[in-house]
């Protein structure tokens, strides 16, 4: 399994999760878990996803998410899980 973390930052509104989930489903990325909370005054949604069966390159996936985020008025990032493992676990 090749996991990545999608982070969505912005103000809450109808359709954000649905919009992002649609993009992910279109390119065969499975959502493993979702959480949402207010962190440092930002409304933040975090998804753990499995990109091992993705139908497009990581670069294309990143662009698709970022474009959708722009439409929805939120910032969307996707990063491989390893970077968080490296920086936050001993």
């Amino acid at each position: 399994m090749s996991r990545a973390i999608v982070t969505i930052i912005g103000s809450d509104r109808v359709g954000i999760i649905a919009g992002i989930a649609n993009v992910l489903s279109d390119i065969n990325v499975n959502i493993l878990d979702i959480s949402q909370s207010v962190i440092r005054e930002y409304f933040t949604m975090i998804m753990m996803v499995d990109v091992s069966a993705a139908s497009v390159s990581f670069e294309a996936l990143r662009k698709a998410l970022s474009d959708k985020g722009e439409q929805l008025g939120v910032k969307v990032e996707i990063q491989r899980e390893e970077i968080f493992q490296a920086m936050h676990r001993i």
Partner: protein, 456 residues
């Protein structure tokens, strides 16, 4: 939430470091051995160098861009370092050394890397004809190329200081400045004079691929003054124990990110991973400044009293955090305080608070040298040599690397300013002492290596 292994705080912490605090990988540098490129003819040598360098690092940019996308961390520079050229150019006529530099320049162009280092020689004990020819060719080689960097090692703790070479380097720097007078004497920004040079440094202008390295290796230089500044600010008015703890944990995270990027790049390039260099490298961007960290620690302005102690504690804490995060720390791993590349240093130098004398004192504790300092264009070659000798003496006695990268900007005097553009930044012309050291420099010979006992 069993699958989400990281807290929202941790995830935002990483994103914030990149977006707001300029966390980046400063350089991925591929070191390449040229020892198998030696040839009887200049053409043969140049052809082998071109093929080997462009073949070995062929995918560097492509792999870097992929990694940048996947981990969401910018990689600012891609670079190549090679075996010191004088070691493979023994059969090349002295008038052809510039051609080797031009070949390296073409390699850099083909690969899309911003600098290639290793137009270098090690002359701390003596000089071969090839070393002498390379130093002779330096001013023209640096003026005739855009991306070639050179380093000359003129001293070491084991060998002492080669004062003949130091005298020559003063003249070479003057000549390089003259040849690029119309470009702010930029050739000098690509030339470093070392004492105790290291063989695995990924940072320019001093990178070269040492003979103790393998055929090819991937080194990484991390950055992060902005991230450390944020941590120091967040810590507030705590005592030094707590302050260094905050710096250590930040350095740990930065280093881990660098190590992940380095190992991933090495794996994809099919080249062994070498080291991660823990130097805090500033850029001219506001907030990406080492000076600002010292000022946040409480030094009124960098260059003022307390600066040396603050720098010592900062760098030691960075190394302690980083050393725990990576098994292979190497390179320079010291504090970089290139005056023209650090907005806080520029301001302090403009006000006259930061002087060459204070910068020299900082190199005694952890700074790796007098770096990117612009001095008046009419500074005599002997004075530049004496600056090099002072700096090298600090390195020799303290068993550490020290370096000099000064730019005697043609036609400029104290009060003027010089703009190199891009990462090299801009700098005010700093004053040097007027007393002439010409008699000392003209003595020639070597300053013997120091005693290693009785070290107080």
């Amino acid at each position: 939430m069993k699958n989400l292994r990281y807290s929202g705080e941790e995830i935002l912490d990483t994103i914030q470091m990149v977006r707001a605090e300029q966390l980046d990988i400063r350089t991925i540098t591929v070191g390449i051995s040229l020892l198998d490129c030696a040839s009887n003819t200049t053409e043969g040598l140049c052809a082998r160098i071109y093929d080997k360098v462009t073949g070995t690092a062929r995918d560097l940019r492509k792999v870097g861009l992929e990694i940048e996308q996947e981990f969401g961390i910018p990689i600012v520079n891609y670079r190549v370092s090679v075996t010191p050229v004088s070691l493979v150019a023994g059969r090349v006529p002295s008038e052809d050394f510039v051609k080797i530099a031009q070949t390296l320049d073409r390699c850099a162009d083909t690969l899309g890397v911003d600098f290639i280092g290793g137009f270098s020689a090690h002359v701390e004990k003596g000089m071969t004809p090839a070393d002498a020819a390379l130093i002779e060719a330096l001013p023209e080689a640096l003026a005739a190329t855009k991306r070639v960097c050179s380093s000359i090692n003129i001293g070491s703790t084991r060998a002492g200081l080669n004062m003949d070479a130091i005298a020559q380097m003063g003249r070479a720097i003057k000549q390089a400045a003259k040849l690029t007078a119309d470009q702010s004497s930029i050739a000098c920004a690509k030339l470093v004079v070392f004492c105790n040079a290291v063989e695995d440094n990924p940072f320019m202008a001093g990178a070269f691929h040492g003979v103790s390295e393998g055929d090819a290796v991937v080194h990484v230089g991390v950055s992060g003054p902005g991230v450390v500044l944020k941590a120091v600010k967040a810590a507030g008015d705590v005592d030094f124990g707590q302050l260094t703890a905050a710096i250590r944990s930040t350095a740990f995270k930065i280093t881990r990110a660098g190590e992940l990027v380095g190992r991933t790049a090495a794996g994809r390039l099919g080249i062994p991973f070498g080291i991660i260099d823990l130097s805090l490298a500033p850029t001219p961007a506001e907030g990406d400044s080492v000076a600002r960290i010292l000022e946040e620690i409480g030094v009124g302005q960098v260059g003022g009293h307390g600066s040396t102690a603050a720098l010592a504690l900062l760098n030691d804490a960075v190394k302690k955090g980083g050393a725990m995060a990576s098994s292979y720390v190497g390179g320079l791993s010291g504090a970089f305080i290139p005056v023209s590349e650090d907005i806080g240093m520029i301001e302090a130098a403009e006000k006259g608070v930061l002087t060459i004398d204070k910068l020299e004192a900082m190199t005694a504790v952890c700074s790796v040298g007098l770096d990117m300092i612009v001095i008046p264009g009419d500074t005599p070659a002997e004075t530049i040599s004496a600056i090099i000798a002072d700096e090298a003496a600090i390195g020799m006695i303290n068993r550490k690397t020290t370096a000099v990268r000064v730019i005697p900007a043609e036609g400029k005097k104290v009060g003027d300013s010089v703009d190199f553009g891009g990462l090299l930044g801009r700098a005010p012309v700093m004053a040097v002492h007027q007393a002439s050291p010409a008699r000392m420099i003209s003595r020639g010979g070597r300053i013997p290596s120091p005693l290693q006992a009785l070290i107080n």
